[in-house]
């Protein structure tokens, strides 16, 4: 067989390399520019609101589009409460899943189970929102709220009527959306705990659970903390599903049965209703800017924690 002829001038290869590098380089640069613009635009566009309300924007609890008085406290409150409650529900679940997958599950179950959990993260949030409206909200209203108000009704948390769409419903939905990320990162973290640590506990006569409790979890705690914060970031920024089920009310209420709003949901819900009011638009954008800054800080912090843990562990192994 004839060998293919090798061309003496390899111009095509050279210029191909050059173009390739240029194109991918440009794409990479594009991301940096985009990230910069993502911060710059809302900052500029929220100028009007910042000038009008200053720091009072963060502490004002009145959100009154008719009289053009805007304070973001109800949404900051709603975001914090719903996210914390979501974590309260999601963290035990996620840790349980992570421990099961890394320590207990038979080899055959591990891969399919992890796959399903990661699939849960891929469900479009509007679908989860629809499920929340038609299944979860009525369920919570009919089966969870009545006993809560009967037995724990003396707490301000469980007072007043529950119509279905509420802070509680929003938090449960958020918990469902937090579980995949928190459990899969925790699992990854727990998997890197050295075998010697487990064996140290086992050789002392620890049972499986005791080994997890005294050797695995303490060793992995900083990484797990990072996974939890990542989940928190997800809860803070989640928009669609929570907008659909939280009830959309810009009033602060101590009761989890009351409708509420988060920073993300108020933007999604109201930005088409500004009727040309520049201050209204600008205020919503300022809420968006705050959300962006908070989310970025949370995510960077969480990733640093997880990276540090994984790097130290993999480096040591």
């Amino acid at each position: 067989m004839d060998r293919p002829k090798l061309s003496f001038f390899r111009m095509s290869k050279l210029s191909g390399d050059f173009i390739f590098k240029g194109v991918v380089g440009l794409f990479a640069l594009g991301i940096i520019v985009l990230a910069f613009l993502l911060f710059r635009e809302p900052f500029i566009e929220s100028q009007l609101s910042r000038n009008a309300f200053g720091f009072g924007f963060l502490t004002g609890s009145t959100w009154d589009p008719v009289n053009e008085v805007f304070g973001a406290l109800p949404f900051i409150f709603g975001t914090l409460v719903s996210s914390f409650l979501a974590l309260l529900i999601a963290v035990p679940f996620s840790l349980g899943i992570a421990i099961f997958l890394s320590e207990l599950a038979p080899e055959k179950l591990r891969t399919p189970l992890s796959f399903i959990i990661e699939l849960l993260a891929a469900v479009p949030s509007v679908i989860i929102g629809l499920w929340g409206i038609f299944i979860l909200a009525p369920f919570l209203r009919d089966y969870l709220a009545p006993p809560l108000s009967t037995y724990l009704g003396f707490l301000p948390l469980f007072q007043g009527p529950m119509y279905g769409l509420s802070m509680l419903t929003g938090s449960v939905i958020l918990a469902i959306m937090v579980i995949p990320i928190t459990s899969s990162v925790s699992r990854e973290v727990i998997m890197t705990v050295p075998t010697q640590q487990r064996e140290a506990a086992l050789a002392l006569g620890a049972t499986g659970w005791e080994t997890t409790r005294i050797a695995v979890l303490p060793y992995a705690r900083s990484g797990i903390f990072g996974a939890v914060i990542l989940g928190f970031g997800r809860a803070v920024g989640e928009t669609m599903a929570v907008t659909m089920v939280i009830g959309n009310s810009s009033h602060i209420s101590a009761s989890l049965f009351s409708p509420s709003d988060t920073m993300a949901s108020v933007i999604a819900n109201q930005f088409l209703e500004t009727a040309g009011s520049k201050l209204y638009i600008s205020s919503l954008i300022e809420v968006g800017f705050l959300l962006l800054v908070v989310s970025v800080i949370i995510n960077i912090g969480a990733r640093i924690l997880v990276w540090k843990f994984l790097k130290v562990e993999r480096g040591a192994a």
């Binding site: 064996e199 140290a200 506990a201 050789a203 002392l204 006569g205 303490p218 060793y219």
Partner: protein, 252 residues
């Protein structure tokens, strides 16, 4: 001389690979028995069969009997957790719990057994650290993390941790392989003191160490027990050609 452990027809596998072939061996009470042999000869696998740590490895299997005081520890009514409380282990790489203080490390096993009284725990921590010849070096730093210590100190901390639960037997799996000569000799002295009260089995790739500390020596090769006898005899007049070859350094 009473036998503490009797091993009968012991075979061990990792998945389909057989790591131990038909081992028969007796370990005497209050003696140090050394297991020597080249890397991969099954000596670590063997020692891990004595406290049921071999089965912790996924897909590991075992057959045969290990009798401790005449009772087979692989009988179905025996809980491996109980066995491991009676038979302590010190590993090749010191593995203190990094989030626990020095004293918490020592009493970790006791806490598992339900001892809660702070005074008792403190007393046992002190006593165990003294037995492990570490007390004088750490008595002012008991609340510091276990991993703040040097490698040799960490290993003695792990010995203290194993002693605190008052085992009858202590297994040492190459305890000095990561240590400098001074730390090594401290641990060897310690073992010689401990044999007054405990039965000791040590895996070592260091033949001088085996010769220095042990009363009996077993030579393993390719997963088989080649020769077993008094340490003096094994090192001075080995019966088997391969034992002699290994001891004089012709291989391994």
């Amino acid at each position: 001389m009473p036998e503490k452990i009797t091993i009968e027809n012991l075979n061990a596998w990792f998945e389909t690979k057989q790591a131990l072939h038909d081992i028969n061996l007796s370990i005497q009470e209050n003696m140090i028995t050394a297991i020597i042999g080249p890397s991969g000869c099954g000596k670590s696998t063997f020692i891990r069969c004595l406290n049921r740590m071999h089965e912790v490895v996924p897909k590991a299997k075992i057959s045969g009997k290990v009798l401790v005081d005449g009772k087979n520890i692989y009988e179905s009514d025996v809980d491996p957790v109980d066995i491991r409380r009676r038979i302590g282990m010190v590993f090749q790489k010191a593995n203190p719990f990094p989030t626990m203080s020095i004293s918490d490390n020592v009493v970790a096993g006791l806490k598992l057994s339900g001892v809660k009284d702070k005074k008792i725990l403190d007393n046992i921590a002190e006593e165990s650290l003294k037995k492990a010849a570490l007390w004088d070096e750490v008595k002012n730093d008991l609340n510091k993390s276990g991993v703040s210590l040097s490698g040799g100190q960490q290993q003695r901390l792990c010995i203290a941790r194993a002693l605190a639960v008052e085992p009858e037997i202590i297994l040492f799996d190459e305890p000095c392989s990561a240590l400098d000569p001074i730390s090594t000799s401290k641990i060897e002295d310690l073992m010689l003191e401990l044999k007054e009260k405990y039965t000791i089995v040590i895996v070592t790739h260091n033949m001088q160490q085996a010769a220095r500390v042990s009363d009996y020596t077993a030579f393993f090769l390719y997963g088989k027990l080649i020769e077993f006898g008094e340490t003096n005899q094994i090192f001075k007049k080995p019966m088997e050609k391969s034992t002699e070859d290994y001891i004089v350094g012709r291989f391994g």
